[in-house]
């Protein structure tokens, strides 16, 4: 229905969960594609009346309802389905930290001091550090070099796809495999990747200069609200059990639907 349903291969993960072997059918509705503190969808999202929205968590559903959205269904994050479908193999060793510097999305630019961030990472992390950049930053040689020269391993999970082009069915699987190699996950802002990492079994940390987008507007309370409301997830060392409970909540990992239910909601009748 909406091209964002296919971001990060989300629709492919859910199609696999529902028993589809080939490309996913069209989802009849809007699927939340990233953690946010509003109604679950991007602020510039255009709605067609009567089309349902599929959000990750009950809190997001409540918020969306209070903002006038109806037909909002809690389905849980595709990531939660993926981790449920692919339990962590026993005995794999984890080492170091996977670090996600805050990034902009297509057409956005981050303003911040990467050198200062690198210094903070060095001061905090004791093991090897893998820095995962968004594809925009990864392609910006100047930014990538900085992290490489700091001695970090620099990776990119890939391009999330857009407007039904360059879709990447394996995006989340690669991200999960990479996160499971690391003992810790960190970022300078609380974001989807941190919640993903917590569910993937990493110890989380959120610290360092949060940077900002050019002309960034703090919608729904913005950064200050995130720091207040999810204060337990901020800091270089976080209680793992608390973090896990919050991540389960935010990703709706305790509310996953059965394949039959999901197929029915998405109008996927051909499987």
């Amino acid at each position: 229905m909406h091209h964002a349903n296919h971001y990060y291969g989300h629709s492919f993960v859910l199609a696999r969960y529902c028993g589809f072997e080939a490309d996913p059918p069209r989802i009849h509705g809007y699927l939340q594609h990233g953690w946010n503190i509003g109604d679950g969808l991007a602020p510039d999202h255009e709605f067609v009346p009567g089309i349902p929205t599929f959000v990750w968590s009950e809190r997001t559903r409540r918020r969306a309802w209070s903002m006038g959205r109806r037909q909002v269904h809690v389905v849980g994050a595709p990531w939660a389905y993926l981790t449920a479908m692919e339990p962590e193999p026993a005995g794999d060793e984890r080492e170091g930290t996977i670090w996600y510097p805050f990034h902009g999305w297509e057409g956005q630019h981050v303003e911040g001091d990467h050198d200062r961030l690198i210094a903070e990472i060095r001061d905090t992390e004791t093991g090897p550090v893998t820095v995962c950049l968004y594809w925009q930053e990864y392609r910006t040689v100047r930014v990538r070099r900085r992290y490489e020269q700091a001695g970090f391993r620099v990776i990119c999970h890939g391009y999330r796809g857009g407007w039904w082009k360059d879709l990447d069915p394996g995006f989340l699987a690669r991200q999960l495999a990479e996160q499971r190699r690391h003992r810790r996950i960190a970022s300078n802002r609380l974001c989807s990747a941190v919640f993903y990492g917590i569910l993937a079994g990493c110890e989380p940390a959120v610290y360092g200069d949060p940077m900002q987008l050019q002309g960034e507007q703090d919608l729904f309370g913005g950064r200050s609200r995130i720091r207040r409301q999810w204060a337990d997830l901020h800091g270089p060392k976080i209680d793992t059990a608390t973090a896990h409970a919050i991540a389960v909540d935010e990703l709706g990992a305790d509310r996953l639907l059965s394949a039959a239910e999901l197929r029915h909601l998405f109008h996927w009748t051909t499987a």
């Binding site: 509003g38 809190r59 559903r61 409540r62 918020r63 309802w65 209070s66 903002m67 006038g68 919608l219 729904f220 309370g221 609200r225 207040r228 409301q229």
Partner: protein, 492 residues
């Protein structure tokens, strides 16, 4: 002043229709010491609190910002924003005001707090000897029983509050809950017609006092309608609710003043009404706005309806005559008390217009009291006994003072029962009119055929010998008359 964000605040949210109105302002004015106001209340209510230190807690950031801006220059007022569970459980307040209840103190960001946990939170911030003013909406209140179908609003993101097992299922369970928490229940009131803007607050003793039934029937009738679309106008039930002792059980909300043991000097009235404070004294039930006890008796409106229902025309005519020939002819029947000895007493009202709900008041003002009662006859199940047109004129004639009352303002009923009754009435009138039309058409057809037959007979008669002779004689007479008239004219 910047609102203090406690956590759980909703950046996009604003609560509509806060707790409001003159009666709730009067209750708020009894608060003392450091006062905490929890939930959406109209700013004027907070401003009615005489205390120097007032803290207000709302959940929507736009609401908090607006209040903070309003009281930017008012020392001693603090605006907090967030959900109730984030309030520090420190006994810092002498009075806690929650006249909107607890249903709008949570947020989308925090789990729903069970009612009992919400009250525990309020009690935890009360100082020893502190006082709580708490409202509890009744899910089986008249306002809900008569509520029309409406889609759930944006505020209804969580479950159905009435399903909360910790929520008291009635006034006595509410009192018992507070008593078990160590509070003395100083006073409780049943609130009508709607939880957020009551126009009648009366305690259970008064509601079950037979001598007050007439007055309270009048008060409940004049309290107006609950908010929102309704299936039926609940006011005709007022007298039955009191008689059946259901007025407290079916009240839209209950409000309780409770306090930790201590010295509580300011006595609270048994009732707060737009007419004044209702107080039980050694002389009987009194209104603060009138001298002497409230007379026992019936509400004239209901007494008239009862006489009309039973077909007691002499009694009906007597009541009507007493009313319309006396000094209170312009006072609506629902604002008059009929005492057992047949006298009429107007109910003291500081401002008669204020006792009518807005909107309706303006429409009613244009109608005479008699016209209002005529409309009630139609709306309260007596339409079949009265002519659809001219009921007010007939009432005037019956009262012995025939006149033409001012024309009725056309009011389309907004409630389903009255709308259905109005529809049925119009359908019956239309059916009657059609029957009458058919009858007149048949009658006209009969007359036409009779006439045609008569013409035919005349034609036949004219053709006979006698008929021709008669026609000739008649022609001669007419001609003679013309000649005579002409001769006379010439002679003059």
């Amino acid at each position: 002043m910047t609102p203090l964000l406690l956590g759980g605040e909703m950046p996009h949210w604003s609560d509509h229709a806060p707790a409001r109105g003159a009666l709730l302002r009067e209750l708020a004015a009894t608060a003392h010491g450091h006062v905490l106001v929890v939930g959406p209340h109209e700013p004027e209510l907070v401003e009615a609190i005489p205390a120097r230190q007032v803290t207000v807690l709302v959940r929507g950031v736009p609401d908090a910002d607006a209040l903070a801006a309003r009281w930017a220059d008012r020392a001693g007022v603090q605006v907090c924003c967030g959900s109730l569970e984030k309030l520090a459980a420190v006994p810092a307040y002498d009075t806690v005001v929650a006249l909107d209840g607890l249903d709008r103190t949570g947020s989308t960001e925090t789990a729903d707090l069970p009612w009992a946990a919400g009250v525990a939170q309020l009690l935890a911030v009360l100082r020893p000897g502190g006082r709580l003013l708490l409202s509890l909406a009744n899910p089986a209140g008249l306002h809900r029983l008569y509520a029309g179908a409406v889609a759930p609003g944006d505020a209804e993101w969580s479950g159905y509050p009435a399903a909360d097992p910790t929520r008291p299922a009635g006034l006595e369970p509410l009192r018992a809950h507070l008593r078990s928490a160590g509070l003395d229940v100083l006073r409780d009131w049943s609130a009508y017609p709607s939880p957020q803007s009551p126009a009648v607050l009366v305690n259970e003793d008064a509601l079950t006092e037979p001598d007050l039934h007439g007055y309270l029937t009048s008060a409940l009738r004049r309290a107006g309608l609950p908010d929102g679309p309704l299936l039926a106008d609940p006011r005709p039930l007022a007298a039955d609710l009191l008689r059946q002792r259901l007025a407290a059980a079916l009240a839209p909300a209950w409000i309780v003043a409770a306090a930790y043991p201590g010295h509580h000097p300011s006595p609270l009235p048994d009732g707060l009404l737009t007419d004044g404070h209702l107080v039980r004294t050694s002389a009987g039930w009194t209104l603060s706005t009138a001298s002497g006890p409230i007379p026992a008796g019936a509400c004239l409106h209901d007494a008239l309806l009862a006489a009309a229902r039973t077909g007691d025309q002499p009694e009906f005519r007597t009541l009507l005559t007493t009313w319309q020939s006396g000094p209170h002819a312009t006072v609506p029947a629902d604002a008059l008390l009929l005492t057992p000895d047949g006298d009429l007493h107007p109910i003291p009202s500081p401002s008669p217009s204020s006792s009518r709900p807005a909107g309706e008041g303006a429409a009613m003002g244009e109608m005479s009291a008699l016209r209002c009662f005529a409309v009630a006859l139609q709306n309260e199940g007596l339409a079949h006994l009265w002519p659809a047109d001219g009921a007010a004129e007939l009432l005037a004639a019956m009262s012995g003072h025939p006149r033409t009352p001012p024309p009725a303002t056309r009011i389309t009923p907004s409630t389903l029962r009255e709308l259905t009754a109005s529809h049925d009435r119009l359908a019956a009138q239309l059916a009657e009119a059609r029957s009458q039309l058919t009858w007149y058409e048949q009658r006209t057809a009969t007359l036409q055929s009779d006439l045609a037959r008569a013409y035919k007979i005349i034609t036949v008669l004219k053709a006979t010998t006698g008929g021709r002779a008669a026609t000739a004689v008649l022609g001669g007479v007419r001609r003679g008359k013309r000649l005579a008239t002409a001769a006379l004219r010439r002679l003059r």
